[in-house]
Amino acid sequence: MINITTNIEGKDHIIIVEGDVDASSSIHLDEALTELANDELVKNILVDGTQLNYISSAGLGVFMSYIDDFKSKNIKMVIYGLSEKVLNVFQILGLDQLMTIVSDKKEAKEKLHEVQS
């Protein structure tokens, strides 16, 4: 019950995550992020969470495991479009303070440019 699509828009790589990211499906999110992390051309990652219905610790753990990697490789990641209940799961452990989470794609793109300038 997960579908992950990666698109390229200019210099931005967009991962669209649809469905539920739980202990059985988080591996697919992990694979998609690994692929981007290993691509030297990738500098900006936008995670489209508008169709993300559910996330458990397995999904949070995947995002957390790339924080240091992305930092050292100078890759910026912005998550956007989370529903209130999915955002709430990030907030329970304060992970919304460790990652950049914004409300929509426009704001996400602005955030990437702001970080770069």
Binding site: M1, D20, D22, A23, S24, S26, D30, Y54, S56, S57, A58, L60, G61, V62, M64, S65, Y66, I67, D68, D69, E84, K85, N88, V89, I92, L93, G94, L95, L98
Partner: protein, 141 residues
């Protein structure tokens, strides 16, 4: 009111568990955020039991009982797999989890933040995890 669900120890069953709890809780709890938090807590415990206590062995089962009481909701999740000893569990810091990149270890952290009571009982071959959440003002009359 009590509800019961028995599932085989396969990770793909986690979704069935979430659907079951969401359906049952809708009649008693208004707040979708609160329902999702309880669903998440039970999902985390069941994922741990399926993966770590029963090694995803589909011949094994876990049993979930949901009891809706006056003051709140109690979830009893039992299995006969390897027991989990909470006295040996030391909660990592978020920084440790980020640095070790091990993609795990925060499930129980979430459960403890969400639930008002988290208990693990081992009796003979049976292990039971009891989670209790007190109702707040969002309870349906």
């Amino acid at each position: 009111m009590k509800f019961n669900l028995k599932v085989y120890c396969e990770k793909t069953r986690l979704r069935d568990i979430r659907v079951f709890i969401t359906e049952k809780l809708k009649a008693y709890v208004h707040d979708d955020l609160e329902i999702n938090q309880m669903v998440l807590a039970v999902d985390e415990i069941c994922a741990n039991l399926i993966i770590h206590s029963n090694y995803c062995n589909a011949n094994e089962t876990i049993n979930l009982e949901v009891s809706v009481e006056k003051d709140g909701i109690t979830f009893e999740i039992s299995d006969e797999g390897e027991k989990f000893d909470i006295s040996n569990y030391k909660e990592p810091s978020i920084q440790e989890v980020v640095q070790t990149k091990k993609k795990g270890g925060i499930g129980l952290m979430l459960v403890r933040r969400i639930m008002d009571k988290v208990e693990f009982i081992n009796k003979e071959q049976k292990n039971t995890c009891i989670l209790h959440k007190r109702f707040n003002h969002t309870q349906k009359e």
